[in-house]
């Protein structure tokens, strides 16, 4: 990875970029559908690994 490829981690007080992804429940989930709720968005490295 070169320096210009290195993305900054998004900072506090910036709007979260919206996205739509499939889920294990078989549904498409869009972040903005949870407007009006707090969202804990928990990135984890990989399934089937400890922690």
């Amino acid at each position: 990875m070169t320096a210009e490829d290195t993305l900054m981690v998004l900072q506090i007080n910036t709007p979260a970029p919206d996205f739509t992804l499939p889920s294990q429940l078989g549904t498409q989930v869009t972040l903005s559908q949870f407007r009006g709720k707090n969202v804990v968005l928990a990135f984890f490295p990989l399934a089937w690994t400890p922690i």
Partner: protein, 203 residues
Amino acid sequence: MEQIPLYEAEMASFAGLDTQVLGISVDSEPCLKAWAKDLGGITYPLLSDFWPHGAVAQRFGVLRDEGHSERAIFIIDKHGVIRYVDVHDIDAQPSNDELRRAIRQIDPEVRDRPEPQEPEPAVLPHGGIVMYCTRWCPDCKDARAWLAEHKLAYTEVDITTTPGAARQVERWANGNRTTPTFDIDGTIVVDFDLPRLREVLGL
């Protein structure tokens, strides 16, 4: 308990703070589906950031060179604004208590809500071999096989579904929810510690 099943176990405490939990990884949808099933069922969404690979992780700035994401938590408020960022040690489990504290600070509407009441602890079994376990922990599976192999009768207590059982294990295991943990006629063996189990059982 591990990070993903622990959110499931404590879902009510997040819902009580108007909070939705979303897990996200670069795994494919079938992979997440199989894993969720193996964990005993996960009812909140685990999002598949598989294709374009890691695109959402990249937009949030947490995609690693190896092609998977950091272990990172963002709290997004009711207006869609990021209010908390924790790019965590990838090998350590983030604290749910810290997340709930952060949510209370961020959201004045939930700040003073009481903690959800824990259900009355169940009367836990005693006598013989009692194994505190979860459905999914690999060591619990190994322990069941070992007990069966030695034709040892035992009682199982699932710490995810038995009120008070997880707290009991925490008291025995220095604050950890170590599974399996055994109560053998009052002698406690934390973890699937074979030499210790053989000693206690006189094998």
